[in-house]
């Protein structure tokens, strides 16, 4: 059970602004709702009048009755039509509003700073776009279809009842709230049980998750029985709380129904007595009731309590759906990355020079990472970044690609401008797109899109021909495994790369870069899950394209680092040593230690 929290003030206006686009439809829906409710309530009145005409043997006024019943038929047909039209309109508004919100949320994910994506779990953001939007739609639809008609039904019923008998109306109005109190009372009492149940449920889900993902370990160590025992224990606990929570919350319906029955009985007895006449001063208040109007009142008494129960349900649902909407808006309103400057340069022909000047950077202000890094990488040089896991090697990549902006200092790249002049510009003065197209990047975490192998390779260069694709795949040694897949390049791959091995996925990612042949390269531990042999072949291929291209390589493998022109040795987020293999070995520092450890037998 979701804990109730305060919905921030801005949420409802924001929702309204989305609905505003459909205001004509919305007005039409309200109109249809009003028509359908009025007619729906008018029908019992007509029926009551008709019943009054049925007095007894040979005493039925068929002429008048036919008139009333024909009017009744017209009302029924019009009410049906307006009900349906209202339903269709509500549907359309709801799903279109949700579609618009989803799209805005998704578009936002494309321009969010990487820091947002890195710090918010993927599942959470996905659930904002998908399930929160879905739940919001459910709530909105329910709100549209039941809230307005519900309120109108209550008001309308009261009005019609008043026209028949003010005194009986008072009785109904006084008695009905009891059912609301009962419902609220039960909800309050069951809340604790639902909390307990939710806590046990979370515990059980975590256990299930752990056991299923560790299925191989459980099998290998023969832990099945032990795990079953532990599961049964949690399961029994969950069963206990579930029965209680479900039973007590299921009491709401019979209890409110019981209150409704009391109201009904009260209307019957008071109504019947009024028809006969109390024979006292009371008759003044309860006069003018016929058998037919008693039937109408009874039908109202039945209907009147229904919208109350519905509306209280709608309120919980709306509360929940507002919470969902708020979560979507949190995403839609998240701060996007700083837009490109208006006069940003579009770089087409980078020279390959990359210059870091006094760069300071940290993810959080209280934990300093890179401080005063200055580095000049000349065109065509190979830069290796080394250090133990978690030392901040990927941070540099984040800065080079401008996934993150430096805190102070600058990163610049060289390029030739439109008039043929060599220039060096801060990357913050260059459009992100043109900056990123200068680099070919292969990340440690391989990323494969749902689609065919070809679709995935084409991400590198959407306009590539079949020959180019195959040539790139051959160069990255991916062709031989692709060829063996059931449908070759047209083989569909599932989410997260589905049935491809980690190494195969990596080869595909490399193929993309091979196809794009960008002027500069970034390899982020790209070869970590490929065996040394395949890696060596890929290195050969990379060696070819790296010629004349500036490359940044993050790798654990010392063999690949040895040939680098510049080695940056990182530790705890800082660059502690800088130089080539020979100078660093001669230095006898951290790099030397690392290198020797690597070859220890």
């Amino acid at each position: 059970m979701k804990s109730k929290r305060k919905i921030s003030k801005g949420t409802i206006p924001k929702i309204l602004s989305y609905i505003g686009k459909y205001r004509i439809l919305f007005a039409l829906s309200l109109l249809m709702g009003a028509v359908s409710v009025c007619l729906t309530l008018y029908i019992p009145l007509l029926v009551g009048k008709a019943i009054d005409l049925i007095i007894g043997k040979d005493a039925v006024d068929f002429g008048k009755m036919t008139e009333i019943l024909l009017l009744g038929i017209v009302c029924v047909v019009v009410a049906t039509l307006s009900q349906w039209i209202m339903g269709v309109i509500n549907n359309r508004i709801t799903y279109n509003v949700v579609r618009d919100m989803r799209k805005d949320a998704f578009v936002k994910t494309e321009i969010l700073p990487l820091s947002y994506i890195d710090t918010h779990p993927t599942g959470e953001t996905v659930s904002r776009v998908i399930s929160d939007a879905d739940q919001f739609a459910d709530g909105l639809l329910l709100g549209f279809s039941q809230f307005f008609t519900g309120v109108l039904t209550i008001v309308g019923t009261l009005f019609f009842m008043l026209t028949i008998s003010p005194a009986i109306t008072v009785i109904v109005v006084v008695l009905t709230p009891i059912s609301l109190f009962v419902a609220a009372f039960i909800a309050r009492k069951t809340h604790r049980m639902f909390t307990l149940r939710a806590a046990t449920n979370a515990k059980q889900t975590a256990f299930i998750d752990e056991s299923i993902t560790s299925h191989n370990v459980i099998t290998a160590f023969g832990l099945k029985d032990k795990k079953q025992q532990a599961f049964d224990e949690i399961n029994r606990e969950f069963e206990k709380y579930s029965i209680r929570a479900i039973f007590f919350s299921a009491l709401t319906n019979p209890c409110t129904r019981f209150v409704n029955s009391i109201v009904y009985a009260a209307v019957v007895v008071v109504g019947a007595l009024s028809v006969i006449g109390f024979g006292s001063g009371l008759d003044l208040f309860f006069s003018g009731i016929t058998v037919g109007s008693l039937a109408t009142l009874l039908s109202y008494a039945n209907q009147y309590t229904k919208p109350f129960n519905e509306i209280s349900g709608v309120f919980t649902e709306l509360q929940n759906s507002l919470a969902c909407a708020e979560r979507i808006f949190e995403l839609i309103d998240a701060k996007p990355e700083v837009a490109d400057k208006e006069n940003s340069v579009k770089v087409d022909t980078p020279s390959g020079d990359v210059v870091f000047k006094d760069v300071c950077f940290s993810y959080t202000p209280d934990k300093k990472l890179i401080q005063n890094l200055s580095l000049e990488v000349e065109s065509g040089k190979k830069v290796a970044i080394v250090g133990p896991t978690g030392c901040g090697k990927t941070t540099l990549i984040n800065l080079i690609m401008r996934f993150y902006d430096v805190s102070s200092g600058s990163v610049s790249i060289g390029y030739t401008d439109g008039s043929g002049n060599e220039k060096l510009s801060d990357i913050r003065d260059i459009t992100r797109r043109s900056l990123r197209s200068c680099y070919g990047m292969v990340l440690q975490e391989t990323w494969i899109k749902r689609g065919t192998i070809r679709d995935n390779i084409l991400i590198g260069k959407p306009s590539a021909t079949e020959e180019e694709i195959i040539a790139a795949a051959k160069a990255s040694h991916a062709h031989s495994f692709i060829k063996r897949l059931p449908n070759g390049y047209d083989t569909l791959i599932g989410e997260d790369g589905g049935n491809l091995s980690q190494g195969q996925k990596q080869l595909l990612c490399i193929t993309r870069v091979m196809l794009a042949l960008p002027p500069m390269l970034i390899l982020d531990e790209a070869t970590s899950s490929i065996d040394t042999r395949t890696e060596m072949r890929i290195q050969d291929a990379f060696g070819k394209i790296m010629e004349g291209r500036t490359s940044f390589i993050v790798a654990h493998r010392l063999s690949t680092i040895r040939s680098a022109d510049i080695i940056l040795v990182m530790k705890d987020g800082n660059i502690i040593e800088k130089g080539n293999h020979d100078t660093l070995m001669a230095l006898g520092g951290f790099y030397c230690e690392l290198y020797n450890a690597g070859l220890a037998k």
Binding site: I208, T213, L223, N235, S437, R533
Partner: protein, 572 residues
Amino acid sequence: MKKLISYLRDYKKETFVAPLFKLLEAGFELIVPLIVAMIIDDGIAKGDKPLIFRMSLVLLSLALIGWTCAVVAQYFAAKAAVGATAKIKADLFGKIMSLSFSETDTLGNSTMITRMTSDCALFQNAVNLFLRLFLRAPIIVFGAMIMAFTISVKAALVFVGVIPLLSLVVFGIMQITVPLYRKVQEKLDGLLGITRENLTGARVLRAFCREDEEIKQFSETNKSLSAMQVFVGKIAGLTNPLTFLLINTAIIVLIYVGALEVNSGSLTQGEVIALYNYMSQILVELIKLASLIVTVTKGYASAKRITAVLEMPSEVTEEKNCGKEVTSGKVEFRNVSLTYKNAGAPSLSNISFVANPGEIIGVIGGTGSGKSSVINLIPGFYPASEGSVEIDGTDISDYDPDTLRKSIGVVPQYAKLFRGTVRENMLCGNEDATDDEIWQALKDAQAYDFIMQKDGKLDYMIENGGKNLSGGQKQRLTVARALVRRPKILILDDSTSALDYKTDSLLRKAVADLDYKPTVFIVSQRASSVLNSDKTVVLEDGECVGYGSPAELLKNCDVYREIYRCQFPEQV
């Protein structure tokens, strides 16, 4: 499906009592219009006030009895639904745990988790509502019809006419919309996939400037989803207006027929009101039924998915009672081939080698060359498609799997620990291990130092998924867990990848020096990891291209030489 219903058999009393009491409740509700008719015809017409008071007391007591019946029904329905689902859950858990690797590969983790959580919840909800409400609607609908017959046969014919039409509307629309809703769900899943992909691949997408294409793809799917939702909504939204139309038309016809009957003297005014009330009751019930059917359909679909898992074959089909145990740890592969389920080509073909007790065997080869497949065959995680794997001269299929695995220590590629203390995790390896034995295993696995620094040492709590440990720490603990059982055969499946070179080599040395001399299999991509092995199996594309000591391999195995040269260029 039958299988799941059989779980309700343990709740015979509850599944019988719940609908019975619902039936009683409905029955009492059906009496109400008769009482009202009596009040009108006898009380009002004859001015009999005491009768009116008596009858209203009857109405109140009917309400009270109805309430009691409902409460009893709710209780037993909840008990039966929750109880049966809990049993199903327990069995489902047991079943999943006993599935073979081939089966779990096909199912996938997220599917198994969904089966155990949301599918079970949907099923429980459906059973609960079914027991409570499913009988109620037909009882009220047909009960109202029967009551109408007792009042007036002619008027009852209106009921007979309208009920089939109503069922046609309710079930017909359901028939059309249920498959459409499934399509909506599929589209929603697709949208989820795109969103998820877009976030996990944010860096790559931005690096290749693919933002616009992604937005386009999302918008298209999003648009077709909402178009589909609007379309289904249009059809589903017909149910209520159509029911309303039918019932109200029927009421008008009923009043007219009633008027004719009253005019001819065969019916009274009060009875017409009773008939009118019965018709109104049907309307209320049908609206409830429509929403119930949606829940039950969902529950039915979940039930089918749960059943599919429950009916999968377990790994052990028959009890092996040979009681044979591993004594020496000699492992022999004889012309072994392995083709995974649903795979087009074999992953291993014709592998043969012998590992003698106490030897250290390296398994080396490229990505996808079949290294993990080879070692997964030893504890019988997958059965060999051809040939045989023998331990101590006996085919492993002749061992009881649990007995066989007791003597094997497996350290999987991905380090997985359970939520619980360090000690509890270590005891997974061997329930009877003493603290001293655990400490020794931790020392050998190079985990002693960091565990000593943790609060509570062996009582240090490991979070779900080992979140509070680093990758290297987790790997060392999984090694220790395997060592605690002092296995005859120890399998290290590339399980030290997160360790730095120094720790890795210390660990390998400790393993080589173990006093109980297990047969050790070390899987690796690095030549340095298998340099100390007695023999090494070299794999390429699922075939064994070399088997021998490192020195021999260096001499006569090209693939091995190539791997070796990558790491030690100047030595070749």
